[in-house]
Homo-oligomer: 348 residues x 4
Amino acid sequence: MLIVMDKKATPQEIEAVVTAIESKGYTARSIPGGERVSIGVLNNEGPVDASLFMGLPGVKDAIPVTRPYKLVSREVHPEDTIVDVGGISIGNGHLTIIAGPCAIESEAQALTIAKHVRHAGAQLFRGGAFKPRTSPYSFQGLGEEGLKILAQVRETTGMPVVTEVMDFETFDLVEEYADIIQIGTRNMQNFSLLRRAGRSHKPILLKRGMAATIEEWLMAAEYILEGGNAQVILCERGVRTFVHHSRNTLDLSAVPVVLKESHLPIIVDPSHAAGRRDQVIPLSRASIAVAAHGLMVEVHHDPGNALSDGAQSLYPQQFEELCDQIKKIFNILGNNVDRCEAPISIAE
Amino acid sequence: MLIVMDKKATPQEIEAVVTAIESKGYTARSIPGGERVSIGVLNNEGPVDASLFMGLPGVKDAIPVTRPYKLVSREVHPEDTIVDVGGISIGNGHLTIIAGPCAIESEAQALTIAKHVRHAGAQLFRGGAFKPRTSPYSFQGLGEEGLKILAQVRETTGMPVVTEVMDFETFDLVEEYADIIQIGTRNMQNFSLLRRAGRSHKPILLKRGMAATIEEWLMAAEYILEGGNAQVILCERGVRTFVHHSRNTLDLSAVPVVLKESHLPIIVDPSHAAGRRDQVIPLSRASIAVAAHGLMVEVHHDPGNALSDGAQSLYPQQFEELCDQIKKIFNILGNNVDRCEAPISIAE
Amino acid sequence: MLIVMDKKATPQEIEAVVTAIESKGYTARSIPGGERVSIGVLNNEGPVDASLFMGLPGVKDAIPVTRPYKLVSREVHPEDTIVDVGGISIGNGHLTIIAGPCAIESEAQALTIAKHVRHAGAQLFRGGAFKPRTSPYSFQGLGEEGLKILAQVRETTGMPVVTEVMDFETFDLVEEYADIIQIGTRNMQNFSLLRRAGRSHKPILLKRGMAATIEEWLMAAEYILEGGNAQVILCERGVRTFVHHSRNTLDLSAVPVVLKESHLPIIVDPSHAAGRRDQVIPLSRASIAVAAHGLMVEVHHDPGNALSDGAQSLYPQQFEELCDQIKKIFNILGNNVDRCEAPISIAE
Amino acid sequence: MLIVMDKKATPQEIEAVVTAIESKGYTARSIPGGERVSIGVLNNEGPVDASLFMGLPGVKDAIPVTRPYKLVSREVHPEDTIVDVGGISIGNGHLTIIAGPCAIESEAQALTIAKHVRHAGAQLFRGGAFKPRTSPYSFQGLGEEGLKILAQVRETTGMPVVTEVMDFETFDLVEEYADIIQIGTRNMQNFSLLRRAGRSHKPILLKRGMAATIEEWLMAAEYILEGGNAQVILCERGVRTFVHHSRNTLDLSAVPVVLKESHLPIIVDPSHAAGRRDQVIPLSRASIAVAAHGLMVEVHHDPGNALSDGAQSLYPQQFEELCDQIKKIFNILGNNVDRCEAPISIAE
């Protein structure tokens, strides 16, 4: 249930509603945004009786929420969330390009690639310091040394950095260095990690699990918002199917569904979906055309010698082409994506 | 194996090569296109000995074919196939839009929709006369009466018509009326139907099976080319996965793979992939952005009363928006899609 | 709707009900089995008004059918169907073993294998004369010559024979020779073929499509029953998933679901599910343990030289082991499988 | 690479081989079991030069390992691992039945169910204290209070207890109470958790990820063995596919593949695969017939009021039937499962 307050409701009236909610054993959560205050009622079992709140001073409406997710839903929060990272806006109306190597290998490697991708048009730099690897015998990332190199890249290039956190134990460390903290596909339902992310003051990039439904994905985001962190960016990266001409099957229909269901920004990772360099540019164009808010792309200046995922990393020149192409597509979509049946009206 | 002839090879020399191939028990098939003649060697078991042909007069080269498909492959036929239907070109450099209702319901219905979609920018009209239906108790289409209505639409609007053939028995009938004969997803490996299509003089639109790999799909097309009909258009329409927010999962990575592997045109059917109206326009934009050669879209002037698939049919006004949007995307891609690593170089 | 007649209803009363049904534009179909007559009402759109029939003489009850499939459902036909093939009973209480090579290659090959599998315990012989093949260049079967060899096997060994029909055109021919006509996974929704099978007087073995839901599968069977042929045997053969350690993923949960939903016999084909010889025996044991009514297994005396599917064919000695093992499991399950929550009560 | 020592190799000779391995920058790991010592060479990049070790005193052989997993493979460790838990043996030749409620709800609930399942034949008790839940608003388990109830159940009934650990942070706590520590499907690639499990002295029950290949699953187990804990039990619990008549699709072909590839015990969880009570008994029979070493089954004395997963929990009486049925099937399989092509030879 969502309690919508009058525009002129006083802090005392709002406080009284919160008290009334909590006296029933529910959790009350204020919803940011808009010109009026709304209060979500969480942790109820079974339906909530609207009449408990409708009579209270300053209450305009009490709206039942039909979805299992509450705080991430458009029902509760109709306006698009725009995540701000060091002055860069991520969300509706903005085209966000995150690029960099799969793994940080050295300062020289990171800086070389960062300069390439910044020049081509990337606003944020990505690179793994802690790498989740199928095999215990594979390169596991440089760890804290990698984080320090990321900080060096930020200082040198001015680009905010995105890097993955693998576990609760190293969360504090990653949080100290990263501008955006990535939670990877294998951890989408690592609930301890999600709860910790909910207590973070940094934006979270939440990748879809490789076999997750959209409902499960939004519920994972709900864990983070429920914990108090509303700065969540969703990232579609392909799902596992019988298809084997690409590593995963990029599910672009997820983008319009998420845009309709949730106010959170959604970007696409075509590199992990494809697993092959020659599909990355076409899938990037398609991702922007379907109205995702941005891309996260793997780029390496020397893919043949990359310590991980070289086969799917673009050469710098290919990444330049990619940026040129998607900017043109983004521009014709116009600045705003509506959430109506026909999501885009192209302004001539 | 592909026998490439000299540009100046005489008909007698070509004939001698065909005879040499057939004397070994293989099948010889001339490959159309280009300024020189090539001859495919088919139905071999195990490798073919190139030296059998290299010495013959007029033979320039003998190239082993590494793919299980031969005639549909770029190895054998590097140039893009352009299918011509009543003066409309389908293939590289052209944007093809096919639209219409799922099923032909009446002359009035068909003509109403046809005029709408022609006005919006569709070049071809689609509509089912014979409908494959999961249930024997569902509306099965108007049959021959539907075909006659399609002919009426063509006469009135000038649009060539696309309609599905369900079986060998009614192939002659459908062939008589249709400009493009569609083979549906459930029939992709109906080999009798594919062989009959191979003997047709009409272009064939071959939908991907809902659980088909690209190799299986191209092999199905190979049946048609092997039978003598080189006018095949491929159509991606989504595959069946665990995902249920769309009826099928549109596999757009199939497009760059097919463009690389085969010379045949490929279009996308976003309506059957989505199964829901509100995903059709975003997926259409993505399909053109990924570099498909066109779309086939379901449109109905009164979807609420459609006899089949109403929920996924666009309203005419939505279809107008769709056409506007995809034309803009098509235009910025430039006229030609290369088949290199980065498939498109956008001309400024 | 199902109209249940009194036990003592006269032929005239039954006829009157049929007339009443047809006068409303519906189709009436008598349901075989039991000690009383029931009449299914088919081809209705929307609900049927029970009061139209409840007052008629001899009518005991009028039961709405909640499933999309009617004639194949337990609602309409609660008793198990037992298919009789030359004195061999297939269905509840019987263990049916069908075995033989993927393709008939020669009379010597067929007879050699037939004698092996009969000796081991198979009651029916399988072998393909018309083979659906992904590639037009693969061995397509011996055609009518293969059918004649099958007839020879039947005459020599006394085993009824099962063989696949690929299309409407060759149905008459296959029907002439086969004791059970198989419709393969790629043809599960070849509706012309299903309608033709519905007019056949031979039992039909209907394989599940590789991406078919159970509802779609039962609807395919419904086409056959609706056409007038109630002798249908279902065959689970694995579905296509992301898993690649077996060719398909055998979906054994389909067996209890089908047993609950339908009265038709269901067997399992572990060979095509596995695609690898070393999984066939374990999956065969599991299939009988889950309460399938039988198996169809590929056996070849010389798998290394088989013209198709050699890798999944058992050696004769392995097939003997298989038969020994599954008979023991079948025996402890007891003779009858209940369709209650706990489907089997093992008699001590 | 696996260094196999002579039977008479001295501790000094073994130590010298370890030193030689580590001097090359590799990791040496002794392999338990058999009458001779073997030493695995881990963390090599690229092939290892056998001649470095073949000449050393006491070395009998140096065998390259072809699989990406080493310590879990049959190549490195041919004998079956038998896990001992409080005198109960889990692995080849033993039938292990683990049963209990999805979640511990109260001492009364736990003890009631424990007595039922012990009486029916279960040797171990399962119950969740920390529950991974899709929604942050669902019941999350009793936490430490649940663990204390489990200890109470063990004391009262003598049954060892199995419970899930959800994260690194609570691992110490769970380890203190549990006899077997379960890692759930969502955590199969939570590498921090796997590394922590590798340092545990308690056996680990590792469930297959819902979209994991067998190679990924065995690699996850490799993390645990590489950490030093060789007591790992694998648990198949179904994979996510397009199929929706069961919650997941139980992949029983995984059992023979795992039995061939690895020496670790493998059991099956039919409850989470099915998600519906009426499929659990048939799938349990199939699991034992396919030669799994045991089952983990959800049982509740009052499923209608269970706090989680009631719909898939068996009633106690159904569980009795299940135990009766699977014991009979286990007995006819004989005591030993071979790992040859035809895995079981039934002793008459």
